[in-house]
Symmetry: C2
Subunit: 355 residues, 2 copies
Amino acid sequence: MHTTQPIEWTPEGVRMLDQRRLPAEVVYITYTDYVGIAAGIRDMVIRGAPAIGVAAAMGVAIGVERSAAKSLDELRAEFPRICDTIARTRPTAMDLFWALERMKQRFAAATSDSNDSLAPIRAAMIAEAQQVHLEKKAIDEAIGRFGAELMPREGRVMTQCNAGALATAGIGTALGVIRVAVEQGCKLTVLVPETRPYLQGARLTAWELQQDGIPLTLITDNMVGHILKTKQVGAIVVGADRIAANGDTANKIGTYQIAVLANEHKVPFYVAAPISTLDLSIPGGEHIPIEERSPEEVTHIQGVRIAPDVSVANPAFDVTPARLVTAIITERGVARAPYTDSLRRLADSSATALS
Amino acid sequence: MHTTQPIEWTPEGVRMLDQRRLPAEVVYITYTDYVGIAAGIRDMVIRGAPAIGVAAAMGVAIGVERSAAKSLDELRAEFPRICDTIARTRPTAMDLFWALERMKQRFAAATSDSNDSLAPIRAAMIAEAQQVHLEKKAIDEAIGRFGAELMPREGRVMTQCNAGALATAGIGTALGVIRVAVEQGCKLTVLVPETRPYLQGARLTAWELQQDGIPLTLITDNMVGHILKTKQVGAIVVGADRIAANGDTANKIGTYQIAVLANEHKVPFYVAAPISTLDLSIPGGEHIPIEERSPEEVTHIQGVRIAPDVSVANPAFDVTPARLVTAIITERGVARAPYTDSLRRLADSSATALS
């Protein structure tokens, strides 16, 4: 399956598709240092929890690769600064912290093996970041296969925001499920809420689906209830930024109300996300920090002011309680309520179930 | 109470505030014939059901005033064309048809009195249109007084779209309720969903409240659920474009899902609308025609393309079932379930209860 690549490791540096400029322009930016990658994550050149994880891993790798450190001690001293800079970008995305932790562990192992030679450490970090990327792609394919079985054979499905290739650096989580279902012969039309304020649905999901030739209908976020009431919709599938131990799911703002509306209209509501999105350290969604973004995202669209200069709320995410989630689709299988048990079992199960 | 006037009868013609250009520019257009007024309604220079009613009445009046007819027979022949042109603009707004019916009745009475002199007919039609406007203002004040008693003494309230002065040519219906409550000393902050695609919340309601110095917080339409879940909201009050005999309410797209979310969070959900919005000829909301507007309203914002060229749905209204409506606030009092009884009683009661 051909899909757009939002991030690639290249000899010149880390190449990202600038998602802020889609769909008007397809522009790539090549970052040659970790500070640039941190800025790229923060400024949403790349977004989507799994893709942020890949970017974070590559950011650490390029930070080590291009470090001016002359000795292992100098590199060890610099390393936390690299990780901290990348950590202080998007607070909600679990994958960001998961990727940083993984790169820290690899760094610890590589440096403990090393006899003050930096070259093997640099090579190990680059290889690890590329491995993270490859694993993300395999994970998406597995999520897609498990999720496709839950899609209707034909008819309408709905998603939210962009949990596609642009968000994951694979085939996507929610859109991966839809892509595999379509590949397997399901005749689906995708309802795409535009997802204000950042318009990931209108700009990214609509663009991705159009590129793939999958039929879609773009709607505004306030049409969801009306559509579910007046049209047959077979399933809703969304991504996740973080999932608590009890199944409470943080995802793009608007997801919670879509889940309430799905429940009201008896439409199955699925979350598709990698195991790395699970945060078993927190019992419930009330512990997930919610990023508040700048008012200008609401008062301006593409630089054009649409509202007077007034007070604005701009929470980037919300939390959907587990009771509204029909199932959580992971690369290791499908979890259903009670999630505290089912998610724990999946988390404990061997990743080799993937193959 | 000083509020913006979206429409005025002037010696030069009918002066409208061009709501399409708010909040960036405050521009007035003076229409000197009924064809222009019909275009103004259709193109949303003026919008909001009650204001459309006033515009329709003034449109008929100016059509008669400026008619080239030389005799009563010629005027009688032209009159249906004037009314039909104005009728074929916005199909959902009940007030449009109510105002046309009233002007038709006045025309019938005036022409039956007349001895082929056109001047008194012209004067009668102008007076009737101005009377419609004055009545709308009185109606808003009465709705405001009844509704203010249902508002919290302090805290957050929410509205949707613009059911304000700009929508009614008075103090507004939903915003009239909030204005009177604030005047009476309630300390309210108004949550204003931006109301895509046309952004009446961001452009008009935020502007009106800012002009009046009433505190507000602008949100995107997909934040409603999250806000209701995480913040205390005391009441939601919206306008209506048409109310069926059983209380089912057509209003701006997004209203239905706000009502579902209000019900989920046990927040009272009020509809504020004049009796003229009632359509007792239809038993339930399934008979209300829903206007589908152009895809460009979704794919472009203020002329800037925000989505690729894909299929779009753009229903301008939705229907909220009566079971989700806590009460309907009219100028004759507050109706509660069962609405088939309470609305019929209010419709049958004398309009003099207004005074």
